[in-house]
Structure formats: structure tokens, C-alpha cells
Amino acid sequence: DQQVKQNSPSLSVQEGRISILNCDYTNSMFDYFLWYKKYPAEGPTFLISISSIKDKNEDGRFTVFLNKSAKHLSLHIVPSQPGDSAVYFCAAHPDNYGQNFVFGPGTRLSVLP
């Protein structure tokens, strides 16, 4: 029972274009969301977060959009760079102190030069 879904296992984008990574969740108790990036042989690295009281958060080339009614969030990377090639994980946190983040299965992004 996957509570956080990333339905695209992989995505290829040309350098300089926009990358859009999608994430859907099923648990309406999730109130905080993060995106992590993971390179091979390294641990995940935090990218950007968004609280459920917002619908958009921007940090440089990275923007996260949250649509609570659709239980959907997306990560936009503009412009995409070859160094962005990595696996991207969407993670969600329930409004419950005893729990921790629930991660999606990840999307492998390849930015082609």
C-alpha cells in the first residue's frame, strides 16, 4: 500500500529545458512535504520543502507546487542542468509526532547535454 507514489520511474530532459517531476499521495493527514535528490553511492540530499498551508515554494531553480485537493505535488527544475541528473524522491510527513517521513519510490532524471 504505497502512500506516496511517483509514477514515472524515469525522465529524460534536454539541458536548459524544464524538468517536471510528479508525486501523488493518498494520506490526507500528510501536512509537510520534501524533495530529496540522490546520487549513486551517496545519501539523499535535501532540495526543497513545502508545508500544506502553502501551494508554492521556490528556491533558485527549484519550485515545488502543492495541490492539496488533488493530493499532488510537483517539482519544477528550470533550467535543467546535467548535474541535476540523479534520482529524486518525494517524501511526506503526517501530522503525527510518532511517525516519520514516507518516501516515494523515486524518479530517475537524466538531463542530456
Binding site: G43, P44, Y97, G98, Q99, N100, F101, G104
Partner: protein, 114 residues
């Protein structure tokens, strides 16, 4: 400043054996969480510790246990290993007492159970 460190990097065990994985958090971080990442899936939460107390537990059997030491380092123990325990085990630390917010991950320990 050093990031989160984990040891060993790789480990090979046989079914039924026991394993101990170690994690040192970023200096000043008092919270440590453990995750299991099976190939092709995202990390799955196992435990969170803060100030040596267990603050959260994921849906894992009692074969999995952990503890946190006074210097905030942590150990994850897995008894009676099964083939399905083969995974990358990630440790993450944060300065926060609550489980929200950014967590800093180590590179992981790759456990192979034969």
C-alpha cells in the same frame, strides 16, 4: 564539518546471523533516524531517536532494534537475518527534536544477506 558517517560501507552476512550498523550524526545533532532502502524503492522509516529515547518506530519486526548513545551516535541491530533484509541502510540526523524538517543523510551501509 563532517557530515553523517556510517560504518561499515558494505557488509555480507548469511541468513540467521546478526548484524550491527553504526551511525555518527553531524556534530550538534541530537536526533538520529534509520531508514531501509530496498532496490528500486524509496527509503522506509525504521526508527527515530532523540536524546537516547525512541521517538518513533516504523512497521518493522522486533528483529530490528536500535539505540542511541550519550554522544548521540547510534547503532541499528538486526537479528535472525533474512534474505529480504538485503538493502541499503541509511542514517539521518537533525538538530530538531520533532521529526519534521530537513534531515541530513549519511551514505548508507549496503547489507547483503546470502
Amino acid at each position: 564539518d563532517a557530515g553523517v558517517t556510517q560504518s561499515p560501507t558494505h557488509l555480507i552476512k548469511t541468513r540467521g546471523q546478526q548484524v550491527t550498523l553504526r551511525c555518527s550524526p553531524i556534530s550538534g545533532h541530537k536526533s538520529v533516524s534509520w531508514y531501509q532502502q530496498v532496490l528500486g524503492q524509496g527509503p522506509q522509516f525504521i526508527f527515530q531517536y532523540y536524546e537516547k529515547e525512541e521517538r518513533g518506530r516504523g512497521n518493522f519486526p522486533d528483529r530490528f532494534s536500535a539505540r542511541q548513545f550519550p554522544n548521540y551516535s547510534s547503532e541499528l541491530n538486526v537479528n535472525a537475518l533474512l534474505l529480504g533484509d538485503s538493502a541499503l541502510y541509511l542514517c539521518a540526523s537533525t538538530h530538531r527534536e520533532d521529526p519534521w524538517g530537513e534531515q541530513f543523510f549519511g551514505p548508507g551501509t549496503r547489507l547483503t544477506v546470502l
